[in-house]
């Protein structure tokens, strides 16, 4: 039975936030939840570190020795490290839709949809919550790369730029995933599609090799691949090699905005 405890606070509804204040409040709420979950169960953080470590350790070290990829004079391992940051954070984000479908089936999402949270705010919140995981992943990969002797910048301003780039990239890929989830509606189908698109996104980007080494048709694909811009920005920021940072940021902002719009539009389908 209920105790006779005070519940005076529960008799007065909270004062609603209005206007622009809603969005940052919801984004914070979603990110806090993501961090709390990670605090209770860190398994994912450890297992997620295995793949990028192998890419750098095996693929990176080998190709550094055989020197077949034109990197513009820097060691291949250095060239590869930003690519692996982008790739491994994309892998996390691209399966974020699975979590959304799980939340839908379990009723968690349903309940969030009945809170005073506009769909766009909910999707933006989820996109940045996915970004929280990606950011932690990025830190892990940077540390692994540093251990392997990659010489990267420790300039705090540039590292802040890296965080923004990773957040935007992961916002786009997680929203792409939620959009697909909104279309296919089941975990199995999303899993299949996720598997099918990650490798093409990865190989049709400049993560492993410069676009100048690609055949023409692949180069065209890489031009419309947001991952290429993410990698370019990360290389510019971390290694200080020439890159088109303004263009990269514009593309990543635009991609994230398009992703959030598309995912918000399809979120209603997941509510039905």
């Amino acid at each position: 039975m209920t105790g006779a405890g005070d519940f005076d606070l529960l008799l007065v509804p909270p004062r609603p936030r209005t206007g622009w204040r809603v969005l940052p409040a919801r984004v914070t709420a979603m990110c806090v939840v993501e961090l709390q979950k990670l605090r209770h169960d860190r398994t994912e953080l450890y297992t997620r570190a295995v793949q990028p470590a192998l890419w750098l350790l095996i693929f990176g070290e080998t190709f550094t020795r055989i020197k077949v990829i034109p990197t513009g004079g820097i060691p291949y391992l250095d060239y590869l490290a930003p690519g692996i940051i982008a790739q491994s954070t994309m892998f996390i984000a691209i399966f974020y839709g699975i979590q959304i479908i799980w939340e839908r089936d379990s009723g968690v999402l349903t309940k969030l949809l009945v809170t005073p949270t506009p769909r766009v705010a909910l999707v933006t919140g989820k996109a940045f919550a996915a970004g929280v995981k990606a950011m932690i992943q990025a830190v892990v990969v940077v540390l692994i790369a540093a251990l392997l002797g990659v010489s990267m910048t420790w300039n705090p301003l540039r590292l802040a730029g890296v965080i923004v780039v990773v957040l935007l990239g992961s916002a786009f890929f997680s929203c792409l995933s939620v959009t697909i989830a909104g279309i296919v509606l089941t975990r199995d189908r999303l899993m299949g599609i996720g598997q099918a698109i990650t490798m093409p996104l990865f190989f049709a980007s400049n993560a492993l090799y410069p676009t100048t080494a690609m055949p023409d048709w692949l180069r065209y694909i890489s031009v419309i691949n947001p991952l290429s811009y993410e990698v370019d920005a990360l290389r510019g920021l971390l290694l200080g090699i020439p890159s088109d940072l303004p263009l990269d940021f514009v593309v990543l902002f635009a991609a994230a905005a398009i992703g959030i719009t598309a995912a918000s539009g399809l979120l209603g389908r997941l509510a039905r």
Partner: protein, 275 residues
């Protein structure tokens, strides 16, 4: 404020999934302050009706109003008045009880100054203060339901909507969930709209009930009214139960075609997770 405004009013509400008419011309008024039970077998349209009221399903304007706010055009205003507990177990097992409630305090704009105290009170009310810092994954089915109740209560809703709150629970947990619902309602005066297919619960705990079948309300009144009416009509000295009223209203074929695959699967999933 608008105290004579009905908590919920549905006027000619219809909703179809493809060819299936889940709700078919539903008229319903829930008076402010009452415990209203929506009864019916699987597939009667209860959950769909609830989802229309909660703004989860899109409805044309004018059909559904919550305390006078239109569910189609004033969604945010409607949602601020609602505390919703869906049929599935919707607490997040990867978070503690306190974190689960705290999330809903945040998304309902509870100020930071008040948050911890308010979350604490919500957990206290449902009797989970001691278990608040355990992961929800370790809770029993009845505890999860009470946690969900706390999640709904933390925003001080005027209308509490519960979709099959006791499905799959053992009798003791069922009683406990209902006792908490009624205690909260007594203390806050909030309106409660609940769906169930347990006739005994409706009989015992609801002020008024509506019997739904094939997407419409087939009978409406207090449990006594409904059984009295049937007794008068039968006139054979028997004392019918709500279940008899329901059989009478729904006619034969009560168990045929009732409940689509998806409904049944969801119900079973919930039941198995409650354990």
């Amino acid at each position: 404020m608008r105290d004579d405004t009905p908590a919920v009013s549905c006027t000619g509400l219809s909703y179809s999934f493809g060819q299936t008419k889940a709700v078919d011309g539903l008229d319903l008024t829930v008076v402010s302050g009452e415990v209203f039970g929506l009864l019916g077998p699987n597939g009667a349209g209860k959950t769909t009706a609830i989802r229309c009221v909660t703004t989860l399903l899109p409805v044309p304007s004018g059909m559904v109003k919550v305390f006078g706010y239109d569910a189609a055009t004033e969604q945010m205003a409607v949602r601020r008045l609602l505390g919703y507990v869906p049929q599935q177990l919707s607490a997040d097992g990867g978070l503690t009880g306190r974190e689960n409630v705290s999330l809903f305090a945040r998304v309902f704009d509870v100020s930071r100054r008040e948050r911890a105290a308010r979350v604490g009170q919500a957990l206290e009310v449902v009797g989970l203060a001691d278990a608040a810092d355990r992961l929800a994954a370790t809770y029993s089915g009845g505890m999860v339901r009470r946690l969900e109740l706390a999640q709904a209560l933390v925003s001080s809703p005027r209308l509490l909507m519960l979709d099959e709150p006791t499905i799959g629970l053992d009798p003791i947990a069922r009683t406990s969930v209902w006792e908490h619902i009624l205690a909260v309602r007594a203390a806050t005066g909030m309106t409660v709209l609940v769906t169930t297919h347990y006739m005994d619960e409706a009989d015992q705990y609801c002020d008024r009930i509506a019997l739904m079948h094939h997407g419409r309300v087939r009978a409406l009144g207090t449990p006594e009214q409904l059984t009295d009416d049937l007794r008068a009509r039968l006139g054979d000295g028997s004392s019918p139960t709500l279940e008899d009223v329901f059989r009478d209203v729904a006619g034969s074929g009560l168990n045929e075609g009732g409940g689509e695959f998806r409904d049944v699967r969801r119900t079973r999933n919930t039941a198995s997770r409650v354990g």
